[in-house]
Symmetry: D3
Subunit: 135 residues, 6 copies
Amino acid sequence: MATVKLLTDDELSADAAAVFADIRATRGSDFVNNFWRSLANDPPTLRATWERLKAVMGSSDEGGLDPLTKELVYIAVSIANGCTYCVHSHTAAARAKGLTDAQYGEFLQVVGMASQTNALVTGLQTPVDDVFKPE
Amino acid sequence: MATVKLLTDDELSADAAAVFADIRATRGSDFVNNFWRSLANDPPTLRATWERLKAVMGSSDEGGLDPLTKELVYIAVSIANGCTYCVHSHTAAARAKGLTDAQYGEFLQVVGMASQTNALVTGLQTPVDDVFKPE
Amino acid sequence: MATVKLLTDDELSADAAAVFADIRATRGSDFVNNFWRSLANDPPTLRATWERLKAVMGSSDEGGLDPLTKELVYIAVSIANGCTYCVHSHTAAARAKGLTDAQYGEFLQVVGMASQTNALVTGLQTPVDDVFKPE
Amino acid sequence: MATVKLLTDDELSADAAAVFADIRATRGSDFVNNFWRSLANDPPTLRATWERLKAVMGSSDEGGLDPLTKELVYIAVSIANGCTYCVHSHTAAARAKGLTDAQYGEFLQVVGMASQTNALVTGLQTPVDDVFKPE
Amino acid sequence: MATVKLLTDDELSADAAAVFADIRATRGSDFVNNFWRSLANDPPTLRATWERLKAVMGSSDEGGLDPLTKELVYIAVSIANGCTYCVHSHTAAARAKGLTDAQYGEFLQVVGMASQTNALVTGLQTPVDDVFKPE
Amino acid sequence: MATVKLLTDDELSADAAAVFADIRATRGSDFVNNFWRSLANDPPTLRATWERLKAVMGSSDEGGLDPLTKELVYIAVSIANGCTYCVHSHTAAARAKGLTDAQYGEFLQVVGMASQTNALVTGLQTPVDDVFKPE
């Protein structure tokens, strides 16, 4: 249950409808997920968020990160922030981009390991080694 | 300033010294960073953490994640958890494993994007679409 | 599903009933929401939490913050902490205190922006400028 | 100590220099704080972040939030996310925009109250009341 | 709804089945909860997590923490991390280990108090007193 | 470096001075740590926070939690929230109340374990078992 109405296509403002059209064209799919339908209540935020997401998560320049790695980073942040929606939507996206069960298993191991050592270091208040600091 | 003493090599218990020897052999370096020196106050935790870290972050089986991707996932979690030590040590590790400036720039963009959309979704309490749920 | 029973009016201890009476008198409404019904299992916590909430969120002294601004600060914290109940209850409270759709849209933009820059700064470990520190 | 070099004006790329010029013109001040100097290592992120921040935190449309309220929301998120840099820089910004000691005291009380009730509700797993859900 | 299938006993790999057998023997109960059924999709993570959990949460050496105190620490972390599943499962575990209503009430008070002062200190950026630092 | 001045005894308002006197009397020590010196800038928050802390962390009623367990819960929350000041001050407090090295080692193991399983469960979005829910 969202704090706002999830807008149907018929309820969109002209500006929101234009963003939805770009989402559909970019993804090559008629499906528009609930995140955008909730954001559509505030068209400027809808547009800014979509434009930025498209730029950040899309194909990288030469030498950048591949799309699956980007999804894994995205899910990792979403787990640490406890965002149920984001974990579900981006795990689905990662699978659509080729994530295998073996990779997913390793990914969760790394997320668990990092969470554990984050807590140990914070509990111990271990100071940063000089060698880890850029000169 | 840690909550415990950072143990020098001379102050290690026999069990902790054995772990330090394995850290050095595994990494091919004499340097042992402060995280292990703080954990060394509790040898069972030192050993369990090192054994698990070595297994999780080391070379993957066929078809698993590459070491650099694992580091990026690790840093992503550490940023979201606000762990200064972990951000520094694993950013240094990622660079040692070949992270380029271009990749690092894209990585931070994804972390920023995920953090932003996590907050928007949590603010809006958007419900998960049925299509994102495994059957 | 709470970890405790949500107490009905008939199940309240005398002390909890007195707090419920004050909640109703203060709010001018017979409705008492689930937060208080779960807290009512521990009357001292119920009383201490209600007394403090009433003092903090009520009308300010001359020159303080207006009630709507207080609600927005409350929701912002609740989003960052991932508290579903709190986001829903205080978004409803903010609307009851006059929050408009335009204000809500801007509020979410700020929350998203802060979340993004928080992550970027933590990833970059940017040191605090001297000018931001009180003399 | 950042994970990247804090770039001086002499070290900026042409694109980063253009963003710095807009920061200075918009703020009417020659000072550019460390956040931008660390972001300047990745000019596309620098530009995207600055453009969005300028749009979000600047003057609102008719009926929007006032600049001081925006800063308080920003600080609230930054506190909950544990971002030292952000707390310092935006507390300084809020003061520059007129935050009084009395308002700051009330602000911290609300942040503390929300943090406490967030934890209580999460501990109790209190279900959301139907009345808080939009129809 | 998990991101993976919750495996029934019939669907377990041989390695996962061996872990389930140890869970049942250790706990003296046929019931295996969903956490293990979701982890069972990746048998190495299932085994490593169970082995570590058994070691950490089991009976302590002479002079260690009692099992109920361990559960309270576990719940406290889970509340702060916003983990619904963990709050429910470990609150149930704590009750099975003897947690009384009076103790639970005090526990929640401490969690609420800590959350509040964490936020106040982070908002104020109070520096650590020298006396709190180990020599 | 705090966002406010750390007030010396000479700079306290009459109300803040009265709270400091109670802190000293309650603790049987002349030392007043920086948390209270930063809060002293807002006497109502200082008083409310101290009164509540004294009630929550002090001696329990018959059948409540012992003071050391309360400190461990407090530190656990503070670690998960990433509060450096709170970790340091309450680890020192726990030691003053008798925390041994062996107990501290076990405590950190539990905190690390909980952090890891919190992340795994959130990544897997494991649904809560019916048996963990109160009737």
